[in-house]
Symmetry: C2
Subunit: 463 residues, 2 copies
């Protein structure tokens, strides 16, 4: 391809959400408009929105879809000199000729050259092949448009019953949203307890809370099909029963949307995500990738993982943008930290759970501790449970899980920071954390859990 002599170098961004637009903005901070042209393609209608906010939009906690949009295309054009073409899907990448093929909202197809390419194509929801899955009233909650459509359906059809399929983060948050709207909810999951990223003993505490708020929790059940009438969903059949459903929400997780990258010939990792290095460089010169479509390094297991979370997308996008702009930045990897809240119950995890630690080949011990969120005598103290895993020989912390009320959850950040630094539980137990009676017992629950685990191994004796 002939290069125009006076053309500015051009960054093409595929995907206008968190990762793509973080990269674009960050590249712009380093390189002015005279120095770098930035052109972004977004298949949907919205840019840079908080996908994590969708359940709160559906539940009515957040009033307006626009509230979830951090920056719209007009803002990118005006404040960042970034052109965003929405409704435009990139259908092919030619790594040799350094160009992309894009199909616009009117069906016209254009070829656009790039000097640097940022792939941020996000994730694809996992959808089993279910009879009836195309019926009216069946929703995913992957994109902002999904959320808007679901909310409009709830407003119009006013279903009295709902089935949420999948009891992970999204499933729980959607169950909460529906309960808040007065809908009777059956939550169906194939696993033994909700929140499969927790160990079952911790998931059981989540189940109890869900039941307490009126959710019917159907565990160990596989969805076999959707019952429809006149093209509209009426119920969900599982291998154990059938539940009425005026609306069905599918929240069964996602996989990296790496199809475009694979077709282009970029290297795809064992998790199905685009393989990138710590600078977010994919396997071809000038090509970067970030967000839900990539796989990344897990700092504890040291294995590649694909974890679809806005917080990684933002950080990785920023790293990519710094490097695209000629700077130097590396993404430090992930710990699998996650947090959510279901009607007041806070649920958080970081690092490896038991199944993950086993898979990664660790010999480990665990401790489970129940304590209070405040000094026991301070009014309003609530229960919280902390579970920790440590490597057997070294005492190194491998993971933590927290389930509890009022401010229990964000304590996961202490464990995440400890994990980030490869701390042993004995050292965690000694740390100087903030204490005052309204905030914690004099030994913060995470410290007691660490101490308990450290003491499970006989301590060395000295004179």
């Amino acid at each position: 391809m002939e290069r125009r002599v006076n053309a500015r170098p051009r960054l093409v961004v595929v995907g206008g959400d968190a990762a793509g637009m973080s990269a674009a903005s960050q590249a712009r901070r380093a390189r002015g408009g005279e120095d770098l042209e930035i052109l972004a393609f977004e298949r949907g209608r919205h840019t840079s929105y908080s996908a994590c906010g969708i359940p709160y939009l559906v539940g009515g906690t957040v009033a307006n879809p626009d509230d979830l949009v951090a920056r719209d295309p007009a803002t990118f054009a005006r404040d960042f000199d970034i052109e965003v073409r929405t409704g435009t899907e990139v259908t092919a990448v030619d790594l040799e000729r350094r160009c992309v093929t894009a199909r616009g909202p009117d069906g016209t197809v254009a070829t656009e050259r790039y000097d640097q390419l940022m792939i941020a194509t996000g994730a694809v929801p996992l959808r089993p092949e279910l009879p009836g899955a195309d019926a009216e009233g069946v929703f995913g909650v992957q994109t902002l448009d999904d959320g808007i459509a679901l909310r409009a359906f709830l407003d119009d059809a006013r279903p009295e019953t709902a089935v949420v399929v999948g009891a992970g983060y999204i499933g729980l948050e959607m169950a909460e949203a529906l309960v808040q709207r007065g809908v009777r909810v059956d939550l169906v999951d194939a696993g033994p307890e909700p929140m499969g990223t927790l160990d079952p003993d911790m998931g059981a505490e989540v189940r109890e809370a869900l039941v307490g708020m009126g959710v019917r929790v159907r565990l160990g059940e596989r969805v076999t099909g959707l019952r429809t009438e006149g093209g509209r969903v009426r119920g969900v059949a599982t291998d154990r029963g059938e539940y009425p459903a005026g609306v069905v929400v599918l929240g069964m997780g996602v996989r990296p949307n790496s199809d475009l990258a694979r077709a282009a010939g970029l290297r795809i990792g064992p998790t199905g995500g685009i393989a990138v290095d710590a600078r977010m460089r994919a396997s071809a010169p000038g090509v970067y990738a970030a967000g839900d479509c990539v796989e990344t390094f897990h700092r504890v297991s040291r294995e590649p993982v694909a974890i679809a979370l806005g917080t990684h997308a933002n950080k990785q996008g920023r790293v990519a943008g710094t490097n695209i702009g000629g700077g130097y930045a590396r993404f430090g990897g992930v710990l699998g930290t996650a947090i959510t809240k279901v009607c007041g119950l806070e649920v958080a995890r970081t690092g490896l759970n038991e199944a993950e630690a086993e898979r990664a080949g660790f010999a480990f011990t665990t401790s489970v501790l129940r304590s209070t969120t405040r000094a026991g005598y301070y009014p309003g103290a609530k229960w919280m449970t902390v579970k920790l895993l440590a490597e057997r020989r070294t005492g190194r912390l491998l993971g933590g899980q927290i389930v509890g009320w009022e401010n229990a959850g964000k304590r996961i950040d202490v464990l995440a920071t400890a994990l980030w630094n490869g701390m042993a539980v004995e050292d965690v137990a000694g740390m100087d954390l903030g204490y005052a009676p309204p905030f914690s017992p004099v030994w913060d629950p995470v410290l007691i859990a660490a101490r308990k685990l450290a003491e499970a191994a006989p301590e060395p004796r000295a004179g």
Copy 2:
């Protein structure tokens, strides 16, 4: 001194609060009653109480003084086979002969041998030589008995006005307690802003909140004397004015109560605290010390500090007890982490503030960041301010301060954990912390503050 042939080894504990009784309990866990006799002396009436809870007792948040007592002497006797003699003051220690002299409640003096000695004599409140300081209605809040006496006075005398002298943690908490009781409060401090352990720019935010809740904050004023009438306090005079006071609370900090140790010939450090090693061993064989009476190692400044906090007393006491019992434990030092809450405003700090960093000889940069406690679009998001200090050349985090609402404060633990591990702010910025819209913005405020500080130094460039 002749040793009885069949006597069990004896641990004598001087001081029956957090440090002393943690040590005693921990020693007992390692050594049964047949193996080790434990005898504790406590000058006051109570053992193992939460001194940090006293303001909440005075304010009425905690109803009953007994709620603050974790274990009373009867419990120690019954469950731990530990004899506690309350109302009994140890007046001398003879390191050569390994015995202590103790004066009981009836004035009788006894000499008791020890094999191991645990000194946990706590702290002495700083009290300026003020005319009128002996008047009725003037209170410290150092011991549980102080708190009980103050509450009784407030219940009986029902003063309409109060002056709190000292705007540190205790002063603020006492101001809150008095405001909650409907008392009009003048808070007097010689410093430029309240909370002298924060930098003044952060202290200013605390001042604004105090003023907002109706406290009259009198800064840069030195108390010159107390006005009394008939032996009862009526007002507080400063170098700038006089304020009416039906009650006066003195909260001007404390110093290590190391007089007994000094008189015995134990080494006292430059801060005035008893010098101990990481195993909490004082400078004579078989003698341990812990809690407010010792000085300890600051992990950032690497200098000895004396910081009177229950959380250290508990940890240090436990370390001492493990070692006394024949085990092996080391205290990892402190970071100066502290947290409090004034009518909903949360205030926390860790590491070094600007003045401390200067004294310790660091060249440093700072960042101050205002962000929200939740995703901006999530209802109820509140403001919080994070200030960070980093070493100029290395980017190493030196300290952090947080002022803000609802769950802002305990984020200090992330910074404390980062400091504990000697992290650079650039690495802090990349950490995988928990994110969901009800808990934080997608970049947690502590991460943004770290990023801002990391970027203040020009980043290295690479191709």
